[in-house]
Symmetry: C3
Subunit: 302 residues, 3 copies
């Protein structure tokens, strides 16, 4: 069952990435849903050899979940992630996006919204709560819906954040209510592999990647030699991070790098042609953050 969903989504990703002669209108169906989220499903920090009890690692929260049309059936948010981060939204420069959002928060009964970076939109699709100015887009109440109308403009290529910007923004972001847009240039080559890495503090003591802490809980990303891999890296919350991958470098306008500072709501799209087989670590290089969970495994096979 879960495997079937993955296949459907993988096909979806291929279609989303295929260059097309004409700009498309892309519909995404997203809901805010309740979940009891476990930051450390295997109960273990393998590197420090420490055990955690579920009472320390599970908390009730609200997250974005992808659905089929008209919110009929839930879907995984991306091949590698189930619920955190939210649905990976694909587009190409020139496309229009309609993000249909429904608030199904019954746990906290809070109004929610979606605020998107990197794309063009009118104020009525901004989703940011500002008393006296903002409208229904910024306060979608439980049971209600809103459609955000976005355009991937000529300066929209890249990876970008989206997140709740309603009256409860603070609690929502702390609880994982964020995701990413991944926008390709009109005729840009799509990557063979796309990995989402979201650095965010969670709970009182955990520093998470995609809502999970410690090797074995954070995503295991996989690629083969020769593939074009793309890392969509983002931070949310109040902390700054440095993204590092072992055994790899990427080229920037300032020269090659293998470590990059990322502050809250900043995003970096990092690419390379894979040529280094092995089992590698990717992690935040802030020492405290790495020790509190921001580290994962990247496996490259021949």
């Amino acid at each position: 069952m879960r495997r079937a969903v993955v296949v459907v989504l993988a096909l979806g990703a291929v279609l989303a990435a295929a260059p097309s002669a004409h700009a498309a209108v892309r519909d995404y169906w997203v809901a805010a849903v309740d979940v009891d989220w476990n930051m450390v499903p295997n109960g273990r920090d393998a590197i420090e050899d420490m055990m955690y009890d579920a009472s320390q690692t599970v908390f009730p929260t609200v997250v974005y979940r992808r659905y089929t049309k008209s919110w009929k059936k839930p879907l995984r948010n991306s091949p590698d992630q189930d619920l955190i981060p939210g649905p990976l939204i694909h587009a190409r420069v020139g496309d229009k996006l309609r993000i249909h959002f429904k608030n199904l928060d019954t746990a906290f009964n809070r109004p929610h919204s979606m605020h998107f970076h990197g794309v063009e939109y009118k104020p009525s699709s901004d989703g940011a709560y500002l008393p006296g100015f903002s409208g229904r887009d910024a306060e979608v109440k439980p049971g209600q819906t809103w459609t955000y109308k976005l355009t991937a403009g000529k300066d929209s290529a890249g990876a970008w954040p989206y997140h709740d910007h309603g009256p409860a923004m603070d609690e929502s972001i702390d609880g994982g209510m964020f995701g990413m847009l991944s926008i390709l240039g009109r005729h840009e080559q799509a990557p063979d592999r796309e990995f989402e890495v979201v650095f965010a503090p969670m709970g009182k003591n955990f520093m998470t990647i995609d809502g999970r802490a410690f090797v074995g809980n954070t995503p295991v990303f996989r690629a083969k030699v020769g593939e074009l891999v793309q890392w969509d890296v983002m931070a949310m919350g109040s902390d700054f991070h440095t993204f590092h991958v072992h055994g790899h470098r990427w080229v920037t306008s300032e020269g090659p790098r293998d470590t990059q500072t990322i502050g809250p709501a900043e995003t970096y799209r990092i690419r390379w042609r894979e040529d280094a087989p092995g089992t590698w670590l990717y992690h935040c290089h802030v020492e405290d953050h790495m020790m509190h969970g921001m580290i994962g495994i990247y496996r490259v096979t021949k």
Copy 2:
């Protein structure tokens, strides 16, 4: 009265920005003056719907203030700002600047100085206190004056900080004793609108933009569709920030961005041709900072 001053300064800004065939010598008259500064003049955090009493938001401090020649009459520091940040100092590459500084601090009776980034100068205009090495430029005592002699060199185009670097640097910066230089290339187009955004913590609980906290207290910046707008963004103190403007992007050598990390004394000059009418938010995207005041309104009309 205040209106008259604004008109004079607006004219001054236009003159400062006009390209000229020959390099100019520009004189600025600046004093360190006492003020009881209110971080939250309207006493309110409109987004969180919280009230603040003046006893929580007013503190005595010393700031830089612009004056007419020979410190005869005080002026506003810029069209948008009265006292924090200090006078916006304009020049073009090739110009010489003479900054005439007078210490009128009678509140704390401390020595003060001005230390400038981005420009060329001799050590006697450095303004940085170093026992055994530095001179009078680094310790201008109350009642005394010093003239800092600067050159806008070929690699001086951009926005740059200045700040107190005397023996009381720490307390001075915490109290708002900082400002910006805005230097255009020799023949570079001047912007139609220029907005100064300085992120700095103040008091124990406030995170300020230009010394003010919360929407309605921070500057309301205004522009029209078609105008070339320029944001001079800076951080001072000990915190890192991420500058974000809703509904807009700007192009960098690494591709388009709408969020930028800024550390203490870093500056970014960000430009775009305005094309998005609406009432937008600009803010630091560090969640804690936004919640403690680092957010403001940007209004674009047709």
Copy 3:
């Protein structure tokens, strides 16, 4: 005796920097050694005029030290630094490096390793501890040795960190167990002066540059007008910093800068042709960090 070592190393630096027609194999001999390290040898913060007692500033630690072949005789780590940071490892793109590491830690008896950024290597030279995956390269026990085999690839030009990534990584980095690689392009001009600046917190109350706090303890860097100077700047630990040098600017793809954010394990190689005689300050511009020691002197003579 110490002078002789400096001369030898200075010659070594010149040789390392000389362009060569053919790629070289470079051997470095490094050991982890015990030391009682004094962060404030002169016992004084000259700017704040405060005294410190050795009981506050000395602590036992383990650091990387350079040796002659087969660890016969200890050497200084670089002309400016004795023990922190570790040996400055020079190479050119195309070279191979063999870093022969011996663990002589008798103070804590911990396993140690070396993990290198910026270069190509197989997983057996990664040096990162990962239970179930990593090998002896990641846990070199006291008395044991390991040779890390690295290649300076086509995207390896620049300054890069190395550091302990073994089971005690956290304690090791806090204690100064880190250093830098400095890799030139195949035919790139070598600088006339190379300065290493490593920002790292140490002990409970000190913010250090190269393991030292406060002017007079941190390195005094020296150059002459006309020389090509290169700053290799790095941060280690959990803090972010902003590197600033008075009276100088450098050019980036985003325009000129004089202040640069640097997060943990990030590195910047900054160059300029010296043209500003004087006694200048270099420092981290994070106010708290500067006040707790991250500041030094740069002397330029004609």
